[in-house]
């Protein structure tokens, strides 16, 4: 089973990814100083999702694994989002 070609990610990539993640962190922190009322949480969540996407793709190597892994991750996240939506269909519409 050791025949698959090994993908070695250069240090440089990780450095850039780290810089991107730090920048996003600083953005979310600064955004909270501006009062955007209802949008605040939405922006925070969107930025967090982008960060999570970057971590999954590069740090967790999803980009270089077989597509099976990506399919599984997408499926699990989809199921989780649906669970949230269905539960909220109770709480938000009471």
């Amino acid at each position: 089973m050791q025949t698959e070609s090994v993908h070695i990610t250069p240090y440089r990539t990780y450095a850039w990814v780290l810089i991107a993640l730090m920048t996003l962190t600083l953005i979310t922190v600064t955004v909270t100083w501006i009062n955007l009322s209802a949008l605040t949480v939405a922006i925070a969540l969107i930025i967090a999702t982008v960060k999570a996407y970057i971590v999954l793709t590069y740090f967790m190597h999803l980009k270089f694994e077989s597509s099976l892994f990506r399919v599984f991750v997408a499926m699990v996240l989809m199921i989780y989002v649906l669970v949230i939506l269905f539960t909220l269909s109770d709480y938000l519409l009471r």
Partner: protein, 375 residues
């Protein structure tokens, strides 16, 4: 609290089993066995394994929250601390409805093995059965709140969950249709495993149909928390899972222990179990609709006859189980051949009982062979 923690640890065993099955089926299939050449029992286990992996953590965190509530007064579910008891119901059923599918899916897989073997016919609609297992697992994940129609949920949520519950019936019905179609024009061998398998189909159909009437909002409100629900549940979990389990034991017993059992006795055990089961649970549908609530030991006079029937049914059922245990415990059976039923899956190609390491040479599935190549 110790019990809650015990349940939490038990969750780990369920998760790890599922994890093991998924990885095994992805990485360790026999040469030549593609996913769509896998027997349908493993297919059912594959769908089950995903439910175990994805549903158990939810009950895991719920149990941790209960421990926190009892121990640290972190009352997520305690109204006096601002918590929400209905939220507990949601979290509980997000796991506990799929848990029913953890039970029934392997049972369906067993039936899918037994029917073609004893009909000596290729399974009808192989892919439809395989995919329907996955569909049941997937849709079954999103129907949990049909247990909560009377809890004060929003109307929108109630009809959404009612709709989704109806959807689960589709893949289940596909399976039933395919089992029956497999028997069509087959050379049927009326051995005990087959008897239990057809018993399963009959009982599962009653259980499934009554499940639909429970999934419908209006009828559900009427029969909620009555004996009707008890009867439905037992038709699925005893008539379904239980009978499939008995079928599986009778089917693989020769392979497991290298010995046959007494067919006559086994058939009698079926007669008693089947008659006893129906006599025990069918009256509960009737008294349930009449208004007999569940979880009460006492009842009004008009329910007396129903309860008496149930009582005699329970007696017959116990007799059936005793006969079965005697049959299986007996050591007088003849030595079992390698393949007593003429099965085609790999386990019938090795000696009974299987030697250590099971296969001396790696079994292989040829290019144009399938798991159910009967004549």
């Amino acid at each position: 609290m110790a019990a809650v923690f015990g349940a939490f640890v038990l969750g780990f065993s369920s998760i790890l089993t599922g994890l093991n099955f998924i990885v095994t089926m992805h990485r360790m299939r026999a040469p030549g066995m593609t996913f769509f050449k896998m027997p349908l029992f493993p297919w059912a286990l594959y769908a089950t394994a995903w439910i175990q992996v994805l549903a158990t953590p939810i009950v895991g965190i719920t149990l941790l929250m209960i421990i926190a509530e009892r121990w640290l007064r972190i009352g997520f579910f305690d109204p006096s601390l601002g918590g929400d008891p209905i939220l507990y119901q949601h979290l509980f059923w997000i796991y506990s409805h799929p848990a029913v599918y953890i039970m029934i899916l392997p049972a369906m897989g067993v039936i899918t093995e037994i029917i073609p073997t004893f009909s000596q016919r290729r399974i009808f609609g192989y892919k439809a059965i395989a995919i329907s297992s996955l569909a049941i697992a997937l849709v079954g994940y999103f129907v949990w709140a049909h247990h909560m129609y009377t809890s004060g949920m929003s109307t929108t949520a109630r009809w959404i969950f009612s709709l989704l519950t109806f959807l689960v019936a589709v893949p289940s019905a596909i399976k039933v249709f395919n089992w029956v179609s497999t028997m069509y024009k087959g050379s049927i061998q009326m051995a005990p495993p087959f008897l239990f398998a057809v018993g399963f189909i009959f009982l599962f159909m009653i259980g499934g149909m009554t499940g639909l009437s429970l999934g419908a909002l209006a009828t559900n409100i009427h029969v909620h928390d009555t004996a009707y629900v008890v009867a439905h549940f037992h038709y699925i979990v005893f008539g379904g899972v239980g009978f499939a389990f008995f079928a599986a034991v009778y089917y693989w017993y020769p392979k497991m222990f290298g010995r046959m059992y007494n067919f006559k006795m086994a058939n009698w055990s079926f007669v008693f179990l089947f008659a006893g089961f129906n006599l025990l649970y069918f009256p509960q549908f009737v008294i349930g609709i009449m208004g007999m609530p569940r979880r009460y030991f006492d009842y009004l006079p008009q329910f007396t006859f129903g309860h008496q029937l149930s009582f005699f049914g329970a007696l017959l059922l116990v007799i059936g189980i005793v006969i079965m245990l005697i049959t299986l415990a007996s050591k007088k059976g003849a030595k079992a051949p390698d393949n007593p039923w003429g099965g085609r899956t790999f386990e019938w190609q090795i000696p009974s009982p299987p030697p250590v390491e099971n296969f001396e040479v790696m079994p292989e599935l040829k290019e144009n062979e399938g798991p159910y190549d009967y004549k």
